[in-house]
Structure formats: C-alpha cells, structure tokens
Amino acid sequence: MKIASRFLTPPEPAATIQLTLDGEPVTARAGDTVAAALLAHSGDASRLTARGAPRTAFCMMGVCFDCLVEVDGRPNCQGCMVQVRDGMVLRRQRGPRKLMGGAQDA
C-alpha cells in the first residue's frame, strides 16, 4: 500500500523534473534535495535497515545518515545532501549498509 506524503506540497510554482525510485517514475521539484523529494513523494520508507526496519530521512542536515539511498548506481549517498537531477535513478537500500564510520566503499 502506498502511504501518502506526510507533507503538503507548497503552493509555490516550481519547475519539475523526473526521476525514478526503484524503477517507478517520480516527479520532483527542481532544486529539492533527494530526501525532500522522497518525503514529498510518499510517506513510505526510503530505506530498510539491516534488521529490515523502515526508515526515512530524519535530521535533514547531514547528521543522522538515515537518508542513505542509492543514486545513479552509487550506494550510501546522503539524500539530504544531494540535489535532484532530471533522469536521476534512485534505489532504496535494503539490509546492511556495508558502510563503516570511517572509510566507505562504493
């Protein structure tokens, strides 16, 4: 079941762009971060943890890493720190991150 966004889309006019999330088309407002675009799109999880728990972007300021998402094939991108681009391919990450506190493989 799709969960409606927990946010109201602003009444301001804005240019839109197209991206995909797990292959599904998503319309996003140009200039938004990936995390904002996903929160505007649906109220559903944007990531599953190693234990399968659903998460969405949390702090919106680069601190919590709950917004991790695969962007154009690169895993573990902080969605709140990356701007959307037309044609961007997003995938939800499921399970362990393979990302440690220090160095990160990608």
Partner: protein, 459 residues
C-alpha cells in the same frame, strides 16, 4: 608561507560574522560549509527564498543581510564542502563530489554550530517521526509543510516552528509539551537575569500567544512518549499528561528537546571539551575570545555552548577580532575597544539561557531511556543492550562502544553519544567526553588514497 589567514568552518551566524569582520580588516578568509548555501541552521537557504515564504518570519529574513555581507573582497566561499579533518598546524581537509582538498591557513575558526538533541523513545525510528527542526529545514529549503502534525517536546524552537506552521496555513494538530509547571517555577529564579534579554522573552510570549489564539490544543507536563504505526501508515502517538494516557493519530510526529553543540570536529581536532550540566551536553572549552587549548584553533557559536543566533554572531566577531590581533592586524587595545560592544551583546544574549535551560530541560527518560528503545539508530542498539554491557563490566563510552557497536555506524555517534552518556550517568558513572576521530564524516577509500598521492591545493 600561508596564503590564507583564516579558514572558517561553518557558514552560520558565527562563521558569517567572523568572515565579514576578518575580511573588513584585510584578512584573507576561506569559509567552508557542507550545505549547499551559506546561512547555517537558522538561516538555511535564506539567500534564495526571497519573499516566497513570508511565514518564516522577520528573524529568518534578517539572515539575508549576513549572507549578503559575505560578498566582500578577501572572502572565498566553498559550499558543498564537508570538512572531515582538522589538525593543529592548522590544516583542514575537506571533501566535495568525491574529491578531497587540503588547505592551510594561519588560523582556523570552528563554527560548526548545533544539531537537535536526539530524542529516543519507543518508536522514534519509525517513518513519520522526525525532529521538529528537520521539518523546519524542509519548510526553509523546499517549502514543504508538515501535514496535520503533532509537535512534541519542549524548547523555544518548538514555539517558533508552531507559529511558522500556523502562519503557513499548516496548523499543528496539537502541542504536547514536556515542561511542567514545576520546571517553570524552578526556572523562575533565573528570570531577573533574563530581563536583560527582554526582547527575546517578549518574542517568546508573542509566539505562545499566537498558538493560543489559533486555538491549538496544548498538553503540558507530558511524559512517557511512545509511537506506533497505524494500518494506514500514520503514527499513533501516546503520552501521559495530568495523570492520563492520551493517544493522537497523526501523519507526522515532530519531536524536539532542544539543540546541542556539534562537537565531532572540535573533539577530533584534539580540543579540550567540558560537560555543561545545565544544557546536558558536551561543548568545546574556550576563553572569552573563543580560543581553545589547541594553538591556532578558535571555536565560536553554538559549538562552544548553546547561546542562539545573537550570541553566535557576537562570538563570531569576538573570535575574528582576536585572530586579527594575533595576525598583527589589530593592536591589543584596538581589539579590546572594538570588542566591547560585542561583549555586551553576547552577555545580553546569554542572559536568557539559564532560564531557558531550566524551563525547557529535556526529560530524564529521553536522556536515559530504558528497555527496547533504540539508542543507536545506525546499528539498532537498544537501551537494554547498553545496560547489558554495563552489567558485563563496561565502564565508559569506549567500552560500551566496543561491547555493543553503539556509535560505530556512519553517524559516528552523533545520534547516540549523549544517550550513552545519559545511561552511564544514570548508572552512577561519571563518563568522560567520548572520542571522535578523523575522518569525522565517511570518506571513500579511493578518495583517501588519491589524497595521499596528490599535492596540497589552495582553492
């Protein structure tokens, strides 16, 4: 030979005023921020949003002047620039787009500001639960408005956000406030001093009046937060107030228990820190000029203790004046004379803190949760796991970390350090400042390898 006089990390009120002050006196400044625009948390994207979002208010719009003042000779700005290492020397390493840069200057000012205090309670990791300031960031940077949200917790920021939501036509469904009449009574003894900051007090009362006038339900003295998911994906929020258990279903539960200094960068740089009991947080230890015990490194703004934007602006200027003096650009007398007004402004801004800290102190159960409540969001470690490690002999934050993996995920403890400390303190320990290590943000291995092979760059 240093081309640069000063590297400032963080383009919030503290970093912005420091940059403008230093450049005005001829210093060459590099201002780095990991966000895509200058402004810091209070003024996120203020340079962009012109008048499209008037509901954010006058205090927000006032940030535009600070951002505009950065457009001055002597100031270079790099945004999207995440600093992941600061060394004595001083030397700063920052990353953008998968590439790291090493920059040196004679002085470094850390102005990395604050983050919201993590608020662990059962269900706080569910989609639909978010810090109130994070929702406010979405309002500032995207114009997204919280839908039928409940604001829960305490602190001046929660009133501001409620008022902004009302003005934006996105009324919160309810305010569930954790401060009790008794806490307010205890805080009242700080009121005489807070009168020095009367305009701030009046602003706060104005916000509360607006929330009242809008007829929004307020619960006071709430405890026992818990959140569950409903069938349609909403959050079922439960709490206790006035001896009764209450439940509210909402798409969005916005929590807040104040903000705490962002200290990973100063801790990793080897700067001494201290525990602020009134604010329940670690902060960088500085003298009145923002000097630390590490040569060449100053700290200004919320990173040295929460004071709010006005205090941060004054502290940024004070640090810049001291650095100018050390650069030989201001005599000691000139520094002291120019600083007098900023010192007074800082004192005025700080005068209200003891009252706010006491009135809106975080709940003990949020500081030291129990049972199945997740403490470390990254590694999904619960309070019970932390307690078990203590029973097995862990004595300090490092041993808890090794035993449980709490703090070993990508956020590097930003979401759990304080909670681990709270649990340790609750169990009778006097925990030391947790360690932070560079890189303080995840850096790709390839990026690290490229760094060792390439020469230092000046942007």
């Amino acid at each position: 030979m240093h081309e640069l006089d000063l590297i400032i990390i963080g383009a919030g009120p503290a970093g912005m005023t420091a940059a403008a002050t230093a450049a005005k006196h001829g210093a060459r400044v590099l201002l780095l921020d990991e966000q895509r625009r200058s402004g810091g948390q209070i003024y996120r994207d203020v340079g962009e949003t012109d008048s499209a979002r008037p509901y954010l208010g006058k205090d927000y719009a006032a940030g535009r002047a600070l951002v505009a003042a950065l457009n001055a000779p002597g100031i270079d700005i790099e945004v999207d620039a995440t600093v992941w290492r600061v060394d004595a020397g001083p030397r700063v390493i920052w990353s953008r787009g998968g590439k790291s840069h090493v920059t040196r200057a004679r002085h470094v000012l850390l102005a990395s500001g604050a983050q919201e205090r993590p608020t662990p309670f059962p269900g706080w990791t569910l989609p639909g639960v978010m810090p109130a300031g994070a929702a406010q960031i979405l309002m500032k940077t995207s114009g997204l408005l919280p839908r039928d949200a409940v604001l829960a917790g305490s602190g001046p920021l929660i009133y501001l956000i409620a008022a902004q939501m009302i003005d934006a036509g996105a009324r919160p469904r309810a305010l569930v406030e954790t401060q009790s009449p008794r806490m307010l009574l205890r805080a009242a003894r700080h009121l005489p001093r807070a009168l020095l900051a009367t305009p701030t007090l009046l602003k706060g009362l104005g916000l509360i009046a607006k929330i009242r006038a809008a007829g929004i339900t307020r619960h006071i003295g709430a405890t026992g937060f818990s959140a569950e998911k409903t069938e349609n994906g909403d959050i079922l929020f439960s709490f206790t107030a006035k001896g009764h258990r209450h439940q509210i279903a909402t798409p969005l539960l916005l929590t807040h228990q104040g903000v705490v200094p962002s200290t990973h960068i100063s801790r990793a740089a080897g700067v001494a820190h201290e525990w602020n009991e009134a604010q329940q947080a670690f902060q960088a230890k500085t003298d009145p000029w923002g000097r630390t015990d590490v040569h060449g490194i100053h700290v200004a703004g919320d990173g040295a203790g929460i004071g709010g934007a006005d205090a941060a602006k004054a502290a940024g200027r004070l640090a810049a004046l001291d650095i100018l003096h050390r650069l030989g650009r201001l005599t000691e007398d000139a520094r002291n004379q120019t600083a007098a007004a900023d010192r007074a402004a800082h004192r005025r801004a700080m005068a209200i803190r003891p009252f706010l800290d006491a009135a809106y102190a975080p709940l003990p159960e949020i500081l030291a949760p129990e049972g199945d409540t997740i403490v470390c969001r990254c590694e999904e470690i619960t309070a019970a796991d932390i307690h078990a490690s203590l029973k097995e002999g862990a004595k300090g934050p490092r041993q808890v970390k090794t035993a449980t993996r709490a703090g070993m995920g990508p956020c590097q403890g930003r979401m759990c350090d304080l909670t681990v400390r709270g649990i340790l303190a609750n169990c009778g320990a006097t925990p030391a400042t947790p360690r932070a290590r560079s890189p303080i943000k995840p850096v790709k291995l390839g990026e690290l390898a490229a760094l060792t092979s390439h020469k230092e760059t000046s942007p």
